[in-house]
Amino acid sequence: MTDQPITKINIVKRPRRSGNITLKLTSMLDMFTIMLVFLLVNYDAEGNIISVTKDLTLPESSATLRPRVASVVGITRDWLLVDGRPVRRIQGITEAKELLIEELYDELMRLRTVTETIGGMGSGGHGFRGNISIQGDRDIEFDLLKRIMLTCGQAGYNNMNLTVRQK
């Protein structure tokens, strides 16, 4: 306990403020300018018209061709997917003697029938065109890719495109 009387407590006096308070906005402006430039560089009016299958790293490429809308065959490390639906496990595919992947073929034929039926209803010519995009993990081997491409070709999907990530 100090023996100072209460009346003598030292109050730190703040300096009197002037009427108009000004914020220091320069650093914030700098940050915004940098952000704007960065975002303008990444600006893409078109957006991604196809979605990437999860759990896979697409290979990098210098290709500039814009992706088309098509059904997607996804090849992750564990699963083979058609439009996001798992079709079969990758394990064991490359050990089979038969190059055609039965489950994938059935699924693609089902997809083809649906597309053809819907295309037959209208007159706009939106029927089956045999477009398919293959999204494969960068570490898969050619043996697997070959079997998948062969199966797609057998099912009538002859216009294949390999989706890649632009560098």
Binding site: D44, N48, A63, P67
Partner: protein, 155 residues
Amino acid sequence: MNLQKTLGRTMRHRSSDAELTITPIMNCFLIMVPFLLLTASFVRLAMHDLSLPSLERKPATAQVSQSTPVVLNFLYIRETGFELRSPELTFPALPKRGTAFDWGSLATQLQRIRTRYPESDEIIIAPVNSINYQTIITVMDHCRENGFSNISISG
């Protein structure tokens, strides 16, 4: 002679913190930043086109093959390196340099085919089973950059 007076200016004491009116710019930025954040795409996708000949497209491809003679260029990708085969041209095999493929020599060989057959842009890539997908895509990139836009893959 006093320069300031000659120029018609008078020295005036400026206050140390002159302020710009940056509020409108701030408003503008605040609107633009969320807008651009929404439209920005951080992963840009592209594709490599592979078209196999199909029954419906046969007449079109037949016409093309009539006008230009088909030159079958094969590029084999092996675990040990590349080997390029083209009619009337012989190339030495390109072994790997350490662990990396010899991309520079491949580009030189591809350019030689292009100068020999300027009208042909077809190449068939034939990798062995153990080659990984990224390598195939990079080979396709190199072929496209050297003028071979019509790429096929053969098992």
